[in-house]
Amino acid sequence: MTTFRKKFALGISTLSILAIIISGCGSNTGSTNTSNGASAESQTNTDQAQNTAGQAKAGGAVRVAMTTEPDNLDPYLSAATDTQSMMDNVFDGLFEAGENSDLIPAIASSYQVSDDGLTYTFTLKQGIVFHDGSELTAEDVYYSYAKLSGLNGQEPLSSKFSSIASIDTPDDYTVVIQLKDKDAAFLAANIVAIVPKDYEQQSEQPIGAGPYKLAEYKPGQQLVLEKNENFYDKEHAPVLDKVEFKIMPDSNSAVLALQSGDIDMIPGITAQGVLQLGDGYTVVSGPQNMVQLMALNNSVKPLNDVKVRQAINYAIDKDVIIQTVAEGNGTKLGSNMSPAMKMYFQDGLEDYYTPSIDKAKQLLKEAGYENGFDLTLTVPSNYQFHVDTAQVIADQLKNVGIKVTIKQVEWSSWLEDVYNNAKYEATIVGLTGKLDPHEVLGRYETNYAKNFFKFSNSDFDKLVNQGKTEIDEVKRVDLYKQAQTVLTEQAVAVYIMDPSRTVAMKGNLQGFKMYPVQKYNFAEMYYTE
């Protein structure tokens, strides 16, 4: 009998191993790429409605769950969007990104562009001080931009500043930047952080001029920001005393922590998490300016035939993907542009290919693939959201005779094989949003190094090249809208959706705003009584 008991002990230990697997490995679903939400409005319950009427309270601390560890605290060396969205509160740029893809003057008070579009003159606000007490002058801007553009003789840290020919600082509050070529995307690049001159310890103790300063960083635990009492913009001075980012890789435990009151905010909560939270929380949701697409390699057979690509577009029902994978929290797309880009977004393209099996079969027949073909769909295994999408697409393409094999690869090999070397047939990925339309659409240019679609179209190239140098805003918008239409007509990819970003907060935390880039502006947030 004792041995029998031992066997059950074995069974129980198997169960506990399962439990360890479930709890220990964490989940991929909590990343911002998989975050969901419905419309760009906040859903508040009755408690919440009362709270909004309540008085704003000074001070307080907000504890925020972050899924990933900061990669580098130096704003110029960090590549992770999550890190940048945390450190954006520490650093200010000449401009800050606004809610409507606009640029809001921050360190700069005004700017002028010469008629030839090559000379930008920025006037800085006076009396701005860094967290270390030193004054921010044109010298610091020069130092920052020289570092980024490589004018200091070292490796340039950002390709966005490669068009800078020279920088002049006629006085302490004026910066004149001379460009090599016309570059309409340059202005939007000026949201980059300005750092104090000759200070090289940004990775250890970052110093900026933003509304918050770094108080403490404990790897694996938390990153704490403290109110900057000397913030230059008195109208937008921070209210909250402290912002604590807690590193919580597991999305389920973050939801539980919010319920138990251990944290106050989850940026990027899943739809399941929102369901679990129930009433009493503010949930804000909106497009996150991401384009989730099934990229098709336009250079391999049979995808080099536009009819085949169009057939695939007709065969896929995006609404079903949004319903099942994103639980309805996504905005249907028709081209490589999210409606979060407001003025650059060409609407109406999302219904260009109304799902129709007959049309898809007809097109396949015309292309000579009446009996379908085999397609390998490579997906990055760490994004469950894309893997799920792949399963739905495989199911839908089966109806027109296209046999899809799903191949999961690690993120690093995805970057190497698919993104860098275009060794793939089809893949699913989310392209993160940028402020300027050229950064979004430029990746389809024939000579763009990372054009992993292998798309080459002279009309398209002409349109985006004109857009790059066109200073007139109205004309520029029109060019990029035309370019989007070309992408849709050529069926370069299957543009699926912009998965919504959903942020859940305590009911009495107010002032959260959505931006077209991932940005959490804590200076605008406050508690109510």
Binding site: T3, I21, D395, I406, Q408, E410
Partner: protein, 272 residues
């Protein structure tokens, strides 16, 4: 040993009925599942257990019962073939090392020791990452992973038996090494190898679940219990049946094989 003895062993009876039930499910699934295992129905997402969907549906509206049934094929296939690989190569390596001894034994066993020093699942993850995921590579990786334990058992058995008189007698009669290894010594070790095999089964199935859980095993949309567990995780609170049922099935399988293994060992021990 007769059947009465077999039925007296409680672990063996319970273990075999658990595995028997799963084996039945698997056999039926070869011909019939209530729904197609990969058939999606977006209007029936995350439906709870009910008459039309015995175990409910998953986040794509696929019938969980059909997927469990179909997943049993994968589980048994991987279990059997990887253990077979481990058994054949493990016994062969162990036999050579144990029978011939000397420097050959030293070299082989140090390599086996090195393999044992790696946690098995880590070795499998490494192999799958190098050769790419998929059913075949998973089987090979798990097979390699189970070689060391078999070769250890085989080696100790051979070292023990090669000193026995019946072996010495056959050597004196002029029997070749191969004949002695396979004809005279190996049959004596069947019992311990059977026990090891049944225990190894559960290890392999659990490892496959682990690999698939990490996205390295069987590729979607084909069902694998481990990946189903992974996919169920985000719905743990709002659709608890998904994760519970999948976890239970894996537990039943592993528990069943463990009970069988222990039952057989008890029987032989009593005999000895």
């Amino acid at each position: 040993m007769n059947f009465k003895q077999l039925f007296k062993s409680k672990p063996l009876v319970i273990g075999s009925s658990l595995i028997g039930a799963l084996l039945m499910l698997m056999l039926i699934s070869l011909f019939y599942t209530p729904y197609g295992p990969n058939e999606m129905n977006p209007s029936m997402r995350l439906a709870g257990p009910q008459l039309t969907h015995l175990f409910g549906t998953d986040n794509f509206g696929r019938d969980i019962f059909s997927r469990i049934m179909n997943g049993a094929q994968t589980a048994f296939l991987i279990g059997f073939s990887s253990v077979a690989i481990g058994l054949v190569f493990g016994v062969l390596i162990g036999a050579i090392a144990g029978y011939f001894g000397g420097w050959l034994d030293e070299i082989i066993m140090r390599i086996i020791d090195a393999m044992l020093a790696f946690p098995g699942i880590l070795l499998a993850i490494m192999l799958v990452s190098v050769f790419g995921p998929g059913l075949n590579n998973t089987i090979i990786a798990l097979g390699i992973m189970s070689i060391p334990s078999f070769s250890r058992i085989a080696r100790s058995g051979f070292i023990q038996y090669k000193e026995f008189d019946f072996v010495k007698a056959s050597i004196a009669k002029g029997a070749g090494a191969l004949r002695i290894i396979f004809y005279h010594i190996l049959p004596n070790m069947v019992s311990s190898l059977v026990v090891a095999t049944s225990l190894r089964f559960s290890g392999s199935i659990l490892a496959e679940a682990g690999l698939s859980y990490l996205g390295l095993g069987v590729q979607p949309p084909n069902p694998s219990w481990g990946r189903m567990l992974n996919e169920a995780q985000p719905f743990m609170i709002n659709a608890p049946w998904y994760v519970l049922i999948t976890g239970m099935v894996i537990t039943i399988m592993v528990l069943g094989f463990n009970l069988i293994g222990d039952g057989i060992r008890d029987l032989y021990d009593r005999k000895g």
